[in-house]
Amino acid sequence: MKSLYSSAALSASLLLATAGFAAPPKETISDGVVKIGVLTDMSGVYSTLGGKGTQVGVEMAVKDFGGKVLGKPIVVIGADHQNKADIASAKAREWFDNEKVDMITGLLNSGCALAVQKLGGDKHRITMNTGAASTELTNGAWTPYSIHYVYDTYALGKVTGQAVVQTGGKSWFFITADYAFGQSLEGNTALFVKKLGGKVVGSVRHPLSSADFSSYLLQAQASGAQIIGLANAGGDTINAIKQAREFGIGQKGQKLVGLLIFDTDIKSLGLNVAQGMQFTSGFYWDRDNATRAFSKRFFDIHKAMPTMDQAGAYSATMNYLKAITAAGTDDPDAVMAKLKSMDISDFFAVNGKIRVDGRMVHDMYLMEVKKPSDSKGEWDLLKIVKTVSGDEAFMPLSESTCPAVKK
């Protein structure tokens, strides 16, 4: 108890001592430096699709921008949150409190993303999320300083679900990872399946990181559904697809649809197993000359083609720096105002704009995995089947529960 009293006494005396301070004069660049933090999974299950590659993206953007903004240096720092929300939150807190980090990007994994975004809101610092999927980030967990840049479960479910139903896949069975992300992916997809006259005949929830999917696949097969929707991610999706092929599921009549797949997953599966699968992505390196030019430069540094998270981190950083220049200050409120009013247009974001809820809407792509015979190289994995405009792909503001959206 003693220390409690002393705490109170100490607080009181310090308060008196500091009360006389006036607010410091406003600088254009706070602390004389713009610091960008890349906080993401650099060692865990998502490290191949985010990880160091995300930091490479950010560093490339800073270099391309010239290394300085408004005459002040730009510094990039990175850390591994190991997919643990507590490490993410501790690191972000330290960055905001001690390192004077102005903006954090990356933030794969919804748990880490929610924790850091909340903290950013409390401390008035910008978070530009390129990695996590949860729509919560632009709804209930929205802050005036949060931007969700690349994709979310709503867009993935809608684009894939609509496309599949429109080409005749009317009845669905879901194999869903039994946690919030999987459930929201299933929910969003099912919504559009039903809207277009399709039906959901059943679903099964499996624990996260299951090794064996044969039982679930047989249940899906027995349901007689035309489409088996995989509402999971990473290793789970890969194992499910692989084992479906083993049991001969998904070849005659039934079709497998993965709802969240990254280029790196396809690489891990091999074209032989994955061919013909459709899914939605926010970026593909081989879309046009601009994406190819960027991706080639990225490849030279990182030895792999960029994923949507990594390319998105480049674009987010670039636009953040542009917004600082336009605002003439790195003051978070001024920068956010600029970001939300300017056009976001580069090789990554086509027809992009940042809405009031922090959602960056831009074109999304329905992808299909190539046949092995059509692939001309190690990274020639996918083709774009359809381009869906951002306004069509992402959740309309009328459905949003974001506090900033006036109803």
Binding site: S43, G44, V45, Y46, S47, T48, D178, V204, R205, H206, P207, S209, S210, A211, D212, S214, S215, Y216, L218, Q219, A222, G234, G235, I238, N239, K242, Q243, E246, F247, G248, T264, D265, S268, L269, G270, N272, V273
Partner: protein
């Protein structure tokens, strides 16, 4: 919930398929525990290592030797992986575990826990955590067979068959042969066995090597089914521990049967209430501990 004969039989087959992995792994743990009194926490990592020997032997060994079209084939991997991992086991036993023999057995658990972290960490650093595909499955084992009630992949039939053969041969050697009797006696009374002219330390080393070799064997069997990833073992090992507690660690046959049984129980859970399938084995463990603390096949300590 009504289940047709067809559903029941297919789930039995799938359960058996998972069960043989539990059986081989818990068998290896039981063999090691029987002679060394050590809970081998590194078992899961060595299972993963076995799978990687198969994968890398298939993809990287050729290029490494300057002969790009050379692939270590599946059948060779089934022999090579247990030998490589067994040799590593011998090394671990000779250089580290041996020095702990005179201390509390808990140190063996802690040491192997540390080794598991090291091996897993190294592989995480160099390989894709979401896993790589193993393409070396032999042509003979591709495709499915019609079992009457379901189409079952040929490869899985092979896995079930060979695993049962390996498990029961191990049981036979340990429980029914002279070599086995030395092993069992070595646990009870090392001095006596020494008097028979048996090199006990060597016997212990080789037993450890054999136990972890079994894990590597299971790893190779798993490679074509699951994706080969650095975390495949750490996800498995905790469940296998529960299997071992349920069966009682003293018994070789007990560990095999419990493994098979729990594989099937888990299989049925996937039909009845899938989200609990990851936990059902732990719940059974609680019940067994309440009713029969020494485990289903264990002798009272």
């Amino acid at each position: 919930m009504g289940m047709s004969f067809q559903t029941v039989m297919s789930q039995v087959m799938l359960g058996l398929n998972n069960g043989v992995f539990y059986a081989i792994l818990s068998l290896g743990l039981a063999v090691i525990f029987g002679l060394l009194n050590i809970v081998n926490f590194v078992h899961g990592a060595l299972y993963m290592l076995g799978a990687y020997v198969a994968l890398l032997g298939f993809t990287m060994l050729g290029p490494l030797l300057g002969r790009p079209d050379f692939h270590l084939n599946y059948w060779a991997a089934l022999i090579v992986a247990p030998l490589v991992v067994g040799a590593l086991g011998v090394l671990i036993e000779k250089t580290m575990l041996r020095r702990l023999r005179k201390f509390d057995h808990l140190y063996g658990l802690l040491l192997t826990f540390g080794l598991a972290l090291i091996i897993q960490g190294v592989f995480t650093n160099y390989f894709n955590v979401s896993g790589d595909a193993y393409d070396g499955k032999p042509e003979v084992l591709s495709g499915v067979v019609d079992l009457g009630f379901m189409l079952f992949p040929k490869y899985r039939v092979w896995v079930i068959g060979i695993s049962l053969v390996v498990c029961f041969s191990t049981w036979f050697v340990i429980e029914r042969t002279k070599l086995g009797s030395y092993l069992r006696a070595g646990t009870e009374n090392p001095e006596l066995v020494k008097a028979f002219g048996i090199n006990v330390p060597l016997m212990i080393t080789l037993t450890y090597g054999f136990g972890v070799g079994l894990a590597a064997f299971a790893g190779v069997l798993a490679a074509p089914i699951y994706s080969v990833s650095p975390v495949m073992g750490s996800e498995m090992i905790i469940t296998v521990f529960a299997v071992v507690v349920i069966g009682g660690m003293g018994s070789i046959m007990g560990s095999i049967l419990t493994g098979l049984l729990l594989g099937m129980v888990e299989g049925f859970t996937k039909v009845v209430y899938a989200p609990a399938s990851g936990t059902v084995i732990f719940l059974i463990m609680v019940i067994v501990l309440l009713v029969k603390p020494a485990g289903l096949f264990g002798k009272e300590a």
